[in-house]
């Protein structure tokens, strides 16, 4: 039996200890290659630093020199239960784009808070981003317990504050764990300095996460990625977002509402009789009809929503602001169309979640908008919780991603 794999992102405010925790996790699970620690000691000495675990992840010259993670990075560690891909996300406001890039690849998260400093701006913003990305499995660690003399009262104070904030985002963390990342307390081993804490260590907590459920049992949604001509016949290719399919089944092509049958699953070097959610496949149809990238294939009696106007929550990430009614490109699965933000019902500060303005006229960098989007061409959509791949989108300007959003 193959071991499971899980993508885990570590988020939190700058200097609250993300990179140090990752270094500690790698060290305690024996995941650092031989010579790595020696190499780090040498590099740190050359730069006049003391050895810090944080440097395990910071590979850019600037990161080591400034002692700050700039870009997201991934590394790997394993427990007896499963293999983890761990994503280090920068904590500085300037690098939120990098943070969201890392976090969008994750299915689970650790939110780290310096217990001495408490909940800060990026703590809240990152928590919001996790909720927007639909990451439901979360552990909160309160780091640097040594700075508050391992005090239970202080732990509970900060725990209550963050817990209330997460409540407002409808996030229920599995555990709150007091740790000292640099010394390893309650990371891989239970701490003997916090006898008052009898809960799980961080590694035990992580191992109790569940791997994301397959979407195979949901409705068939296959966004067409491209159409190739192979041996004189059109082959539709794409990744199945949800559901399953096999030859002979009656399907509908949206948004044009054309009914057709699946003729075959095409494959090379393998033989496929059926395909399920997550698979990148190719199919042929039983008759020639015009199908193009962006069309979505559904079962005939179980169709997705087709709309040219929908409500969404978006996070604006570009330093150019966006105004109501300004033309912008929407990319949703393989669909691409011009659109406008017709209305900004609410404008919200992403670091405090405070309402800034109702019926706003524009969004600036790091502002959240509860908006209505109007597309030029109809798009095939779903609620994010039903089929994530058709319930999330990006807005782009000059081919750069400026915002991420989910359909509500």
């Amino acid at each position: 039996m193959e071991k499971e794999n899980m993508n885990l992102v570590i988020v939190g405010h700058i200097d609250h200890g993300k990179s140090t925790l990752i270094g500690r996790l790698l060290f305690d699970t024996n995941s650092l290659p031989d010579g790595k620690i020696q190499e780090l000691k040498k590099t740190c000495k050359e730069l006049g630093h003391n050895l810090e675990f944080a440097f395990v992840m910071d590979s850019l010259q600037e990161e080591v020199e400034q002692g700050m993670t700039i870009d997201t990075a991934q590394t790997f560690f394993k427990t007896s239960k499963r293999d983890y891909t761990i994503i280090d996300a920068p904590g500085h406001k300037e690098f939120v784009k990098n943070m969201i890039t890392g976090a969008s690849q994750a299915e689970t998260a650790i939110l780290i808070i310096d217990v001495n400093e408490g909940v800060k701006e990026q703590t809240k913003r990152h928590a919001y981003i996790l909720s927007m990305l639909g990451i439901k499995q979360l552990i909160v660690v309160l780091n640097k317990m040594d700075l508050v003399d391992y005090n239970e009262k202080k732990f509970n104070e900060v725990k209550t504050i963050i817990s209330n904030f997460l409540d407002s985002l409808k996030i229920k963390p599995l555990y709150f764990i007091p740790i000292v990342a640099k010394d390893g307390d309650n990371v891989a081993k239970a701490s003997n300095k916090m006898k008052w804490y009898s809960g799980k260590t961080l590694l035990q907590g992580l191992d109790s996460f569940h791997v994301a459920e397959s979407l195979t049992n949901r409705s068939l949604r296959l966004p067409v990625q491209d159409v190739y001509e192979i041996d004189g016949k059109p082959v539709l290719v794409g990744n199945i977002e949800s559901g399953k399919l096999k030859p002979g089944e009656e399907v509908m092509i949206l948004p044009s509402n054309k009914a057709v049958k699946i003729n075959s699953i095409e494959s090379f070097l393998t033989d496929k009789k059926e395909a399920e959610a997550g698979e990148s496949i190719g199919i042929t149809l039983n008759q020639f009809i015009f199908v193009k990238r962006g069309d979505v294939i559904c079962k005939k009696d179980d169709l997705a929503v087709v709309a040219d106007r929908f409500s969404a929550n978006i996070l604006w990430m570009s330093n150019n602001k966006i105004s109501v009614n300004e033309k912008i490109i929407l990319k949703l699965a393989t669909q691409k169309t011009e659109c406008i933000i017709e209305k900004i019902k609410q404008k919200i500060d992403s670091s405090s979640l405070e309402l800034l303005e109702e019926n706003a006229k524009e969004l600036k960098e790091m502002e959240i908008g509860k908006v209505i989007i109007k597309t030029l061409k109809p798009v095939v959509i779903e609620k994010f919780n039903d089929v994530p791949g058709l319930g999330r989108f990006v807005l782009t300007q000059n081919s750069e991603i400026c915002a991420g959003g989910i359909i509500v």
Partner: protein, 269 residues
């Protein structure tokens, strides 16, 4: 779907996204295990009929077996193979003894620049993985380069879910990395499952094998008794030695790879 199926499907999705976005695309094939696995998946993505050329950057210092392996499978798989060599630098005697960094810059970066210029490629598929090196852990799937080949690693565009950087400005090209999420062990498990032909330089003879392939003068053998794919998989499950420890290039200076990469050269063969 098992774990390898998921990795493979994501890779095929990215290959197809790249081809959709950039018709003038090519794949760099170093003949090593990673790019040969990538090539395998490129063949799957297009049902055996790859609609773009496969480029081999030939420094002239490659291990001889690499050339025979390349020619055999280029023919068997019907590849449109482009071999790019910086002939002028080779004629002028550029070699590792006169400085490894300068040698890589001329024979790898130089030859790659020539190929991009000659064929006008707008995007290149490369078989790099995040677990190879700390710098590679920071790569995006779609990574833009400017006209001087510089990688602005401090200011990379965001990637959300399956949405990547599209288009490119007139003078730049995009590097696409469909294997970014694979590990060394994943690759070998996939080679084993799919029975992908791999040059036997990776398998031990007399207690030594190559773990990572490059140019002959800059690549050393590791101690190993793993003489076939199955034994390599077993060895990697327990090793504590970094993959690229046999590569001279990495050891020279702590940040040499970063410099090389920002100069435009990303695969070290």
């Amino acid at each position: 779907m098992d774990y390898l199926d998921k990795l493979e499907s994501r890779t095929i999705f990215i290959i197809r996204e790249a081809y959709h976005e950039f018709k003038n695309i090519a794949m760099l094939w170093s003949i090593g295990k990673d790019s040969t696995s990538l090539l395998w998946m490129v063949r799957k993505a297009f049902f055996g009929k790859i609609p773009f050329p496969i480029v081999h950057i030939d420094t002239s210092y490659k291990i001889p077996e690499i050339y025979s392996f390349r020619d055999k499978y280029a023919k068997e798989w019907g590849l449109n193979l482009i071999i790019s060599r910086n002939e002028e630098a080779i004629k002028n005697g550029v070699s590792p003894d006169k400085g490894r960094f300068e040698c890589c810059t001329a024979l790898k970066t130089g030859a790659l620049k020539q190929a991009i210029k000659k064929y006008g490629f707008k995007a290149l598929l490369l078989g790099i993985r995040r677990d190879e090196h700390g710098i590679r852990a920071k790569e995006r799937y779609f990574s833009p380069r400017n006209q001087d080949f510089l990688w602005d690693y401090k200011n990379q565009p965001p990637e959300l879910w399956d949405q990547f950087k599209s288009g490119s400005d007139d003078n730049s090209h995009i590097r696409v990395h469909p294997l970014l999420h694979w590990t060394e062990l994943d690759i070998w498990k996939y080679v084993q499952r799919e029975n992908i032909p791999i040059t036997d330089l990776y398998f031990a003879k007399n207690g030594k094998r190559y773990r990572s392939l490059g140019c002959l003068p800059c690549c050393s053998l590791i101690e190993s008794n793993a003489s076939n794919v199955k034994e390599v998989v077993e060895e990697l499950k327990t090793t504590r030695i970094a993959e690229r420890s046999g590569r001279a290039q990495d050891k020279e200076r702590a940040y040499m790879m970063q410099k090389l990469r920002s100069l435009g050269y990303m695969i070290i063969f």
